[in-house]
C-alpha cells in the first residue's frame, strides 16, 4: 500500500481540515469535476465527524485511518476506526418536510453521504474494528 494514499489522525475535530485537504488532493487527481470532488470530501468529513463525536466521544486517544483507492472508474475511501458497531445504511433518511416543519437539529450527515456517494459499505471485525468504505463512481 502506497502510504501517500493513507493518513492516520487522532480522533479530534481539529483534524477534519487535514482530512478534507488529503481527500481533495487525491480526488482531484482523478480529474473528477469540482462538484464530485466536493461531494467526496464532504462525505468523508461527515463520516469522520460522526466517528469523533459518537464512536469516540471526542476522546483523542483514539485514532482514525483514512485510505483512498483510485480504481479505473471508481474512487473509494475506506475509514477504519475502533468503536461499537454502527452501520449507517441502517439509518433511515429523515422526512425533510417534517424535519423543517419541526425545526429539527442534527442528523443530516448520514443523509448527505447517502446522497453524495454511490455506495456505502460497512463491516465490523472483532473485537471492535469498523471499516466504512465510501465509493463514488467516476465518469
Amino acid at each position: 500500500m502506497n502510504d501517500q494514499n493513507k493518513i492516520v489522525i487522532t480522533s479530534s475535530t481539529k483534524n477534519l481540515a487535514l482530512v478534507r485537504d488529503f481527500i481533495e488532493e487525491r480526488a482531484k487527481k482523478t480529474k473528477a469535476d469540482a462538484n464530485t470532488v466536493n461531494q467526496i470530501v464532504m462525505s468523508v468529513d461527515e463520516v469522520c465527524s460522526n466517528v469523533i463525536k459518537y464512536s469516540h466521544r471526542f476522546n483523542d486517544q483514539f485514532k482514525i485511518k483514512i485510505e483512498v483507492f483510485h480504481l479505473k472508474k471508481q474512487f473509494k475511501v475506506r475509514i477504519t476506526y475502533k468503536g461499537l458497531e454502527f452501520d449507517p445504511n441502517n439509518v433511515e433518511n429523515p422526512d425533510m418536510e417534517e424535519y423543517f416543519a419541526k425545526c429539527k437539529v442534527g442528523g443530516l450527515g448520514i443523509p448527505m453521504m447517502k446522497k453524495f456517494m454511490d455506495k456505502i459499505e460497512y463491516h465490523c471485525s472483532s473485537p471492535d474494528i469498523n471499516f466504512l468504505t465510501l465509493t463514488k463512481n467516476l465518469e
Binding site: A34, D45, M96, C103, L108, M112
Partner: protein
C-alpha cells in the same frame, strides 16, 4: 490551512454576520456563540453573508437549524445571502430553501427585513 473567521456588523436593528473560511464540526461552535450573543442582546434580525465561506458541513447547517425558530419566534429571521454555487448546492440538495430565504445579494436580504 485556512480557518474560520466571523465578523459582525449592524444596520439598525439588523445584524449581518460575515462568514470566512470553513464551517465544520470544529468551527461551528464559533457561529453558535455568535447567535447566542445576538439573542442575549435582543437582536433577532440576522443576515448571514456567505461570500467568503469556502466549505460547510452538516455541523454548520445544524447551527442555522438550531436558531431559526428562536429568531422567528421573536419577530426576526435568519436570511442567507451571497453563497457560492458550491455552498448553495449543499443547502439546496438538502432542501433548505423550504425553510430559509436565500438571496444572491446582501442588499436584497436586508431589504426583505423592511
Amino acid at each position: 490551512m485556512e480557518e474560520f473567521n466571523l465578523k459582525e456588523t449592524n444596520q439598525g436593528d439588523i445584524s449581518i454576520l460575515y462568514l470566512d473560511g470553513f464551517l465544520d464540526a470544529h468551527t461551528s461552535s464559533e457561529l453558535e456563540k455568535a447567535f447566542e450573543k445576538l439573542i442575549s442582546e435582543g437582536r433577532h434580525k440576522v443576515v448571514v453573508n456567505f461570500e467568503k465561506l469556502s466549505y460547510i458541513s452538516s455541523a454548520g447547517l445544524g447551527v442555522f437549524m438550531a436558531y431559526i425558530e428562536t429568531m422567528r419566534n421573536n419577530s426576526g429571521d435568519i436570511k442567507l445571502c451571497e453563497m457560492s454555487e458550491k455552498i448553495y448546492n449543499v443547502f439546496d440538495m438538502l432542501g433548505f430553501p423550504i425553510l430559509f430565504e436565500i438571496y444572491k445579494e446582501e442588499k436584497t436580504a436586508l431589504e426583505k427585513f423592511q
